[in-house]
């Protein structure tokens, strides 16, 4: 083609550059990009609490939601929850477990194993025996660090007299605890758990040489949690009673208990950091707000933790689909977390 005419050369160059076409099925999402841009503008800083949370065996995180229903002594005092349905309907103030009344305790069954790094999704899949799902490529920056844990179980034993006394001290009248609940063993089980972590700081440093944003995001997933209760035990009724002790109004307690019965993990963040016997663990959620949101796959629960200055420090989102339970937590904005959850596939 040394002496080829310009048109031939132009056609040849066009044929070469045609090889570089982007995949037809790829759809860059400008809304996510814009949200990320605004997050970058805000110049978020990494919350110290977040790193501490990461130190907690992540496998435990998926089931500790139930701790709300068995409020251990460390469940925070005077938490204020902003309980929202799709539209804001009410504020719920959660009180202490009544003083002087033994609270149901959670006992881990077995010893939690720290997450074990996995090279790739195939290795994670091989370990947990299901297909881990991630947000579609490009929603979060870079490739995640993967790790897995074994299944985890935890349980508690119901003591009727304690619960009745707690109801009485909380001024909840007209509620009777069935005597046949005495000694009921309640146990929650996870499957093997897959943990994926994204660190945008590393990517920024690597590619763009820009100041670190501090954004870190973790997605934890399990097969649906299974709850073992004695035959005939009404877990929803039990959950509602515990919520009443904590100050939740009857209708809301019933609504929350019904959801907790089918997806206990939705309560996880309310107890996170205050259940583990981790040194220094304190009231992570003293400034937390909670809202119910609608995802593409159904309802989810979103919790925003704020610092003393009122700025949101971390966002945690919980949702479930028929074959998975997910927890997504990080320092991205509320909107981006929702977009990320919707992109999990």
């Amino acid at each position: 083609m040394e002496n080829a005419n310009p048109e031939d050369i132009s056609r040849w160059v066009a044929s070469q550059t045609r090889l570089l076409e982007a995949p037809a099925e790829w759809r860059p999402d400008w809304e996510i990009a814009l949200t990320r841009f605004h997050v970058r503008q805000m110049g978020q800083t990494p919350p110290a609490m977040w790193r501490r949370w990461l130190a907690v065996p992540a496998g435990v995180a998926l089931f500790v939601g139930i701790v709300l229903l068995f409020p251990a002594g460390r469940v925070t005092a005077q938490q204020f929850w902003q309980f929202l349905t799709v539209r804001q309907v009410a504020f719920i103030k959660v009180k202490d477990w009544p003083e002087g009344v033994p609270s149901p305790g959670i006992n881990l069954i077995g010893r939690p194993i720290p997450p074990i790094p996995a090279r790739d999704l195939d290795e994670a899949r091989w370990r947990v025996n299901y297909n881990p799902r991630l947000p579609r490529f490009g929603v979060l920056s870079g490739s995640p660090r993967l790790s897995t844990t074994f299944s985890v179980s935890a349980g508690t034993v119901v003591h009727v007299a304690d619960l009745q006394l707690a109801l009485s001290k909380a001024d909840v009248t007209g509620q009777t605890v069935p005597a046949q609940w005495e000694g009921a063993q309640l146990t929650l089980h996870t499957s093997g758990i897959v943990i994926a972590e994204w660190s945008e700081r590393a990517l920024d440093d690597l590619i763009l040489k820009s100041p670190p944003s501090g954004d870190e995001t973790v997605l934890v997933q399990s097969l649906p949690l299974t709850l073992s209760v004695p035959s005939g035990f009404d877990f929803t009724a039990y959950s509602a009673l515990v919520l009443r002790v904590l100050g939740v109004r009857p209708a809301e307690a019933q609504q929350m208990a019904e959801r907790a019965g089918t997806a206990p993990a939705w309560l996880v963040p309310l107890a996170l950091g205050c259940h583990e016997a981790e040194p220094g663990c304190n009231n992570l959620w003293a400034h937390a707000t909670m809202e119910e949101i609608r995802l593409n796959s159904g309802l989810g629960t979103l919790v925003q933790e704020s610092g003393d200055d009122g700025a949101v420090k971390r966002v945690t989102l919980l949702w479930s689909v028929p074959d998975r339970v997910y927890l997504l937590s990080g320092t991205l904005s509320r909107e981006l977390m929702i977009a990320t959850a919707n992109a999990v596939q």
């Binding site: 132009s10 550059t17 045609r18 860059p28 990009a33 814009l34 820009s210």
Partner: protein, 169 residues
């Protein structure tokens, strides 16, 4: 106009109108969707941090910046081979041998683009992405009547660079 424009007024609309197109254009250079999105976002960030003195043709400014970022990053990127390996093939692959050859060919084309002057690379990239001569002229702030000539020169430069590196084929 000498003062910096207030770019915030334009950003959302620019994202909506240009982000996807810019990202796909950048993909041609870097061959990785995630990387392309990062660089497109970086072009917007540069617009925000260091806006031009006029709001005339901000899209063109973004495209020029995005292409330059992509070319510069590809030059510097030591992990290029890794990322190119990640790039999905745009067409059905019939055999591993064919996949390898296509991968090699894409890599060659990108090497040649990076070796060209950035304006020539931009001309070729924009045309390959389907932009008209008038659009290319607007994006690159060129005289519309000269774009055809400049493109022909860019094609010739591409061809020469390719032959110098890889020989006739």
């Amino acid at each position: 106009m000498t003062s910096k424009i207030e770019i915030a007024d334009h950003l959302d609309a620019l994202f909506a109108a240009e982000y996807n197109k810019l990202t796909r254009l950048i993909y041609r250079v870097v061959g990785d969707t995630g990387w392309a999105e990062e660089l497109a976002a970086e072009a917007f960030w540069k617009l925000h941090r260091n806006p031009p003195s006029s709001d005339h043709n901000l899209a063109g400014w973004l495209y020029r910046t995005g292409i330059r970022l992509a070319l510069d990053n590809l030059k510097k990127r030591k992990r290029r081979a890794h990322y190119e390996a990640l790039a999905p093939a745009p067409a059905a692959i019939q055999s591993p041998q064919q996949a390898f050859e296509q991968q090699e060919q894409r890599s060659r084309v990108r090497h040649v683009l990076v070796a060209l002057k950035s304006e020539r690379a931009a001309l070729i990239l924009l045309r390959s992405e389907g932009y008209s001569l008038a659009e290319i002229a607007s994006i690159l702030s060129l005289n519309p009547s000269s774009v055809g000539t400049l493109l022909a020169r860019a094609d010739l430069a591409f061809r020469k660079e390719y032959v110098n590196r890889y020989g006739e084929r």
